[in-house]
């Protein structure tokens, strides 16, 4: 993480950093194909560096991220597109240790968020994970059994350890 842990207001610091990024940009004219044939479904967690943890570079992989790294309908849609249009030939589903989505029940999250927001959050859905291992198995099965994802595509389920940087294959 950056040393500056006091967030700036607005976007000026980020846009200044983008100017510097664009000045050194070398990926222009590149296509949107996954050049290493990889798609990753993982969590939005700030500790996860999806390309870095797999030794990949920009251009190599499609990266789908949501709370918990779950194979939702949107993830399946993304994987179908990846497989048939964007060269995806192997899919990694990667939840992680110490995930916020495994820490609370949905009722608890509604209470915590409602209190912090100052308004009743009972209407808001939160897709908590009761059993991460079982969820991972179900998620990998959802990809493997999808009628529009052929059996030639390799699908694996892994848990990423945020304290060691290690991926552990579970499915």
């Amino acid at each position: 993480m950056s040393e500056n842990t006091t967030p700036a207001l607005g976007f000026d610091d980020l846009l200044a950093a983008n100017d510097a990024f664009a000045a050194k940009f070398t990926l222009g004219g590149f296509d949107g194909i996954a050049h290493r044939g990889v798609a990753v479904v993982t969590c939005m967690d700030s500790r996860i560096d999806p390309l870095g943890m797999l030794g990949l570079s920009p251009g190599d992989a499609k990266i789908f991220r949501n709370p918990g790294g779950r194979v939702t309908a949107a993830a399946l849609e993304a994987l179908v597109l990846g497989v048939h249009l964007l060269n995806v030939q192997r899919i990694l589903v990667v939840p992680h240790t110490s995930c916020a989505m495994t820490k609370y029940t949905e009722t608890e999250l509604r209470e915590i968020i409602g209190e912090k927001a100052g308004s009743d959050a009972s209407w808001q859905g939160f897709h908590v994970i009761n059993d991460q291992e079982a969820a991972l198995k179900a998620d990998v099965a959802a990809v493997r059994s999808h009628p529009l994802i052929p059996d030639t595509v390799a699908v694996g389920g892994f848990i990423y350890d945020v304290d060691s940087g290690k991926l552990d294959r579970r499915v």
Copy 2:
């Protein structure tokens, strides 16, 4: 992208790279907070390096990614969690130029995918984008008006140019 553009089968190359990553790992014991107060909603496209394009490092930001970089119900859920539990104080919605989701109609995608998959894909939903600028405005409005995301959170809509590396603020 990596020089090797012939995808390997299975995961051995990626797991070997992960071993090397873990051997040099320095982020252990770190929390899941967004230390620069940032959340990004962007596309799964392989050309996008969400942290790099904003000058951020792992630990700084929550990154939510789906086809097109759309503010879906899942994205809103993620942002609500980010704002109230994970220090998110500014949100960037970032679709990009040359996005596959802007190139086809849903009917065309069903035909193309069905032909490639060898089975009828008429049942599969594809969230294509007819007007990217209008979609971005609607998506930013969805975040700004969300009852559980306070007005103190900065929300901006940007288009990322995959050929120049530049972010262009639109909303």
